[in-house]
Symmetry: C2
Subunit: 377 residues, 2 copies
């Protein structure tokens, strides 16, 4: 064997700054959740771990407000959950309608194209939402087997009203996929009451577990479409017909579960259950209103109309006189507060402020408003 | 809004048994690695996190023994890394050759078919390995653009000799993908010296980080094939043309990195560098030989011929008189030691004993041999 190359000269110990995370995710992680991640792991087929999987499913059904049997955690980020939804529902040639009013709608449409879908999009300006009539009109022109939209658009701060949308989709025989990555656990949503067929989220926003896992749930129509597929899902890793065999009583090996991360998600979901969904939604709303009022008191303009604002993610317009990125750098350097710039067509035009999960606390809102007052004053 | 459903009646605190993990992965996790996971996270675009990404790449280049620029961590398990390798290299219609001598070769072949590859397989009995001549003969019949094989077959305990294989593949203009999920960091392998084009592993075996991440590296031929693709990669989540833009200096947002898990991998890689690859390989070899000798002293037969045994994973034949699963249950119940049964065509016929990473310690070998002596004696 030839001589080995040497390791890098310096790989210093981890020493991260104490950030207050008020960007579009990840959110801050409660101490109890951080702590369980250090548990020495057991195997992914150990009865003690399988019991935690079952309990996680129960807690997820509560958070999604569903009785769907097919409720599980995708071993990847919220984006992996998005791709799981799209890749399992869209077969080559399927007519697909994606409602695009922000970056994540664009991403769904791109994934649906890669799955061979016959994709049509309808659009609204970034920060606005869709009406049921618009969706019905689009479906009349392009009867879609799969319709996808984003409940809480992380790129715009708009919350899509959900009433009536599932009926419009089902009337034309379609499946409704709803992205709740930035909203689930922080903003009112109930999968069964709204008749949503596929709903997914990420671990790292309003649920306040670390990033890396993607909860998803499928209702009966979606399961039927999955089971009637003519072609295998292009992704073996994200194939729900295989993933479900690990999560149900069959316990067929599919992948080595991200055990420590899954313990963190379980603990985070326990915290959601202890607080209660209504109380949690109210806390997010209360912090958001405090932020909105405070920003307006500083003379800043909010990007989204009051009735469509997402409590977990606020977009605020950058004043003309101000250099967007410089303010963010100062915030981070002087006060350890992270907020984010705009994405896509809002780049340079807005700041994005997240109040998600454990980040949604009054002390964080006060710190941010105080810091902005000092920097912009 | 209709009344909400309630959370499950009981979601008890996490309280896992103290397992000694001697199965095919996950392996045990060193205390330093467990501890860093509890670090309060920063954002996935924070300079402090980007620095850790860079350092992780440097350490991975050492572990892979490569200078490949395109060396990064896939945000999913080793199986996600496998799919990343296959989905990025195989385009619809590409001739693909997969060498199948165990379960994971079968999995690669299935993934390649789902990517639209024109897949041919050659096979060896589970527990045996391929000769260069066999591979050359197969390529003469089916000149493949992509050839894939498994270095350390977790399902059989065989270690594939690598000398001469890359030359055979390159002589017919192909790309060589090598799965080192069960071997990297524990068994000698050097990507550049062996001229391997694509190599991937999992975080949770010989590297002894928790499961959930998949390091991968691509050499110049693989990068050229990636950049010359006629079609987009079917999976957006695992598309290396996008993933690389987050890992290189462009820092384009693609997904929210699994931050805490990535800290764990970084710490695990620091431990590999501190120990040194040669010392680590020697430790795995020493523990394996101690296990092999001890098992034979108990009258048990090893499944793989001595010259092709994988130090990190041993398959031992279950004696005729013994109930395979009952012994495993007793081991777990009485001594907290986890070993695994056979997979696929070795189901019921062998036990699989892993000595990987932090699990590869003499005290664990002694505990297992003592327990087996008691149970089988």
């Amino acid at each position: 064997m030839i001589p080995l190359s040497q390791p890098p000269a310096s790989s210093p110990e981890i020493d991260l700054p104490p950030r207050i995370l008020l960007g579009p995710g990840p959110s801050m992680v409660p101490p109890r959740v951080l702590r369980v991640m250090s548990t020495p792991p057991v195997g992914h087929m150990d009865a003690s771990y399988l019991a935690i999987m079952d309990r996680t499913q129960g807690l997820l059904r509560y958070v999604f407000q569903t009785e769907n049997a097919l409720t599980l955690v995708v071993p990847g980020t919220g984006t992996a959950a998005m791709e799981t939804a799209v890749a399992n529902m869209v077969e080559p040639g399927d007519a697909v309608l994606v409602c695009v009013n922000g970056y994540f709608g664009l991403r769904i449409a791109e994934m649906a194209r890669r799955c061979g879908g016959d994709v049509r999009t309808i659009t609204r300006p970034w920060g606005e939402v869709f009406s049921v009539d618009e969706i019905r009109a689009a479906l009349a022109e392009h009867p879609a087997r799969v319709v996808a939209l984003v409940h809480g658009e992380t790129s715009t701060g708009a919350a899509q009203p959900m009433e009536g949308i599932a009926a419009a989709v089902h009337d034309c025989g379609g499946i409704l996929i709803v992205d709740t990555v930035a909203s689930l656990g922080g903003v009112p949503l109930a999968v069964d009451a709204l008749d949503i067929d596929v709903c997914y989220t990420g671990s790292q926003k309003c649920l306040s577990a670390p990033p890396g896992l993607g909860p998803i749930t499928l209702g009966p129509r979606a399961v039927q479409k999955l089971e009637a597929r003519r072609t295998p899902v292009a992704s073996w890793y994200l194939d729900l017909t295989l993933l479900r065999q690990y999560w149900d009583t069959r316990r067929v090996y599919h992948h080595t579960a991200p055990i420590n991360l899954s313990l963190a998600l379980y603990e985070a979901l326990r915290l959601v259950a202890e607080e209660g969904l209504e109380a949690r939604w109210a806390r997010h709303r209360r912090c958001a209103e405090m932020l909105w009022n405070g920003l307006e008191a500083l003379g800043l303009a909010l990007h989204v109309a009051p009735e469509h604002r997402l409590p977990s993610l606020t977009t605020v317009r950058v004043p003309e006189s101000v250099e967007e990125a410089a303010i963010r750098s100062c915030l981070l350097a002087e006060t350890n507060i992270e907020i984010s710039g705009g994405l896509g067509e809002l780049k340079g035009k807005v700041w994005r402020i997240g109040l998600m999960g454990y980040s949604a606390r009054e002390e964080n809102v006060l710190a941010l408003l105080g810091a902005l007052d000092r920097l912009l004053g």
